[in-house]
Symmetry: C2
Subunit: 280 residues, 2 copies
């Protein structure tokens, strides 16, 4: 039984007759392959990632598990269509809080058309991409059984400033974010979710070490997901907090050069998160 | 007695009646202040750098010493004009080999006009800035008493590919670069100039550590100079190799965000230099 994912915070959604990803109950995520070369590129990326022995195992765990591709009835009713079969990253978590962070100060890839570059550049300049080296492109923050999730409308997310990003990163790890905008955020999960040996910062630093060296891939317009759920955290289940990379339609070959665009944004994100953690 | 610098590898030159920097025999470099806000900004930067207690002393040594500003007869004969009085970085070195590396995959600053941004973007795309996160914008490599310096014409430098950059970084530390293009470069100075406790890599890593944390300045369109001279090296004089930052007309306030654009390019440059060093 395929259904629309409950915890998708960005990207095309399989609602109102649109084409979008589906999930099943066994923890798999079915992402329709885009008909143009984007689909081919994303499939090729996953095939390469899970076969290239140059990618260390401890790095591969930052990506959704890839189960191949499969023909499925598309969510827009357009008939059979190839889908990537991936791990459903949210399926391990009850009521996950999720940040979707599009990485890099530049989201266009060098070989794109001038027109495409100008459109991306415009978006990079009007969001925080150019200034911060990343932009939040979607989020949901679990507040409580009563209030459910706090989500921002897509257009609000795209107009986030640096200060909005700082606030979101504090809200993300606070237990009192539903209390109202005047309450001081308690950041009570910051130490365990951001800090600590299995925390987000440690994972980001591990990724950073890889990005300082790896020249295989350039992750243009890729998102970094940060997920955690309170219940796993409180019950001591692991992983309670995860960092994952998604969206590889514009990945290019590194050709012996590091992905300085992703890396710069990653260092900036690390600095933003360190500041939440250090100001508790 | 002011004269035209012998070892200037990029930027406006005080020749043929043009406006450019001058040097004297006491090791000072006089840079004409540009009449527009660029001049004001560069002066303000130097004043801030040498007074801001947030800048650690071990970082300040990566910048030319700043002696203030002074009214001087301009090199283009246009009369008295304010000049920055700086340390002449080449004056410590006999026959210095010099690389001028313009840092960042983006050389424009966010507040610039659309027109300025488009012109910079075009240059960033047609040089290695976008692909490598930096571009070589000038160089001289000392070859021998007989052959003197190897220099590249400005237009050749701007058309460098990644492979040209790799070759230049090897040539820079080779004693046989004048022998002809078929000779295998010996890279005989690589270990001491790039490696070693006082070498270029160690200095770049020190800068990198600062850039991962500092949110005071964004160094838009700043150059990183790498200088060394054979004689100092062979005679055991220090410093035989130096890393310096120059050109601050477009420095902007960091506003609590790291300079991910410079940092990404710096990590890429470190990777390129490590590869020379590790492939000897």
């Amino acid at each position: 039984m395929l259904k629309v994912p409950e915890h998708q915070v960005a990207g095309h959604q399989a609602i109102d007759g649109n084409l979008g990803p589906l999930v099943d109950d066994s923890g798999r995520f079915y992402k329709p392959l885009q008909a143009n070369e984007r689909g081919t590129k994303e499939l090729a990326f996953y095939q390469s990632l899970f076969s290239d022995t140059l990618v260390p195992d401890h790095i591969r765990r930052f990506f959704p598990v890839f189960y191949g591709s499969q023909l499925l009835e598309a969510s827009d009713g357009s008939g059979l269509r190839p889908h990537l079969v991936l791990q459903d990253l949210a399926s391990n978590h009850l009521n996950p809080s999720i940040l979707d962070v599009k990485m890099g100060s530049r989201t266009w890839y060098p070989e794109a058309s001038d027109d495409y570059i100008q459109r991306c550049l415009e978006k990079d300049r009007t969001t925080t991409s150019v200034s911060l080296g990343f932009r939040i492109s979607g989020l949901q923050i679990y507040q409580s059984k009563e209030s459910g999730f706090w989500k921002s409308a897509r257009k609000d997310v795209l107009s986030f400033t640096a200060d909005n990003v700082r606030l979101v990163l504090r809200k993300f790890v606070s237990s009192n974010s539903s209390v109202g905008s005047n309450a001081k955020l308690d950041c009570c999960f910051a130490r365990s979710v951001y800090g600590g040996p299995a925390g987000v910062l440690e994972q980001l630093l591990e990724l950073k070490t890889w990005f300082e060296d790896q020249t295989i891939y350039h992750f243009n317009s890729t998102s970094l997901l940060i997920l955690f759920d309170e219940e796993s955290l409180l019950k001591g289940r692991t992983p309670f907090a995860e960092v994952k990379l998604i969206d590889f339609a514009h990945v290019a070959e590194g050709e012996g050069v590091i992905d300085h665009n992703f890396l710069g944004g990653l260092c900036s994100l690390i600095k933003f998160i360190s500041e939440v953690f250090s100001r508790i």
